[in-house]
Subunit: 134 residues, 2 copies
């Protein structure tokens, strides 16, 4: 299988597949013409990688997950630990973003948003964080 077909089959861009080879996530064979020759196993791995990435796992996590995936003697506890760590990072990011959202919504609500120059959003950015106007 050439890279174009694999791209279509896995849903990953060609560039990404080459990149994954570059960082040693996959090691496709090579034909005499120099073209990458992907096996079914390569396609499975790439699909796996695509799903893991779409769940937000880092490349390093993906590397770990892939090696667990390939290790028939793995302990599921190891997989779970990686997943839990990632889940915690996601939860943290969500909290961060929700704090931003709350702060932004608070400012936006106060801004009349017309042609006049006075603007609580800019004032909020210019003042110390918690300082309510009073």
């Amino acid at each position: 299988m050439n890279i174009g077909e694999v791209s279509a089959a896995s849903g990953l861009p060609i560039k990404t597949i080459r990149y994954y080879e570059d960082i040693d996530l996959i090691r496709p064979a090579r034909g005499r013409n120099g073209y990458r020759a992907f096996s079914e196993a390569d396609v499975h791995k790439l699909t796996f990688l695509g799903r893991a990435r779409s769940l937000g796992f880092s490349i390093e996590d993906c590397r770990t997950l892939l090696s667990l995936y390939e290790d028939r003697g793995r302990a599921s506890a190891d997989v779970k630990e990686v997943a839990r760590g990632h889940l915690a990072r996601i939860a943290g990011k969500i909290e961060e973003l929700e704090a931003m959202r709350r702060a932004l919504e608070g400012l936006i609500d106060k801004c009349h948003g017309d042609g006049r120059p006075d603007c609580p959003i800019l004032e909020g950015l210019a003042r110390p964080a918690g300082a309510a106007g009073g």
Copy 2:
């Protein structure tokens, strides 16, 4: 004011301040010795930038916000539009992350996480997204 004091006053790392000058967000004066000589206005701008960044605004948004901040004749509607756009991006990201979280939690819940190799997390990553085991 030298960069160290400004860093302490604004809460921004020295490197970041230099970087902000590099990309023309601020234009501090220079002393005869080549040191940056910051005015109070520079410090205000940097503090403003720090707050905007902490709310997740991109550098380009910050550039816009800063120019609005400095423009006494601005329309608050313009500020509000920038903020609303950013809020929408944040909300989008939160949704994305929450979808990831739900998917991950679903997988993690199903994994017993012991020494045995069978693992619904890996299976979930190996199969098409919505395909429940049956």
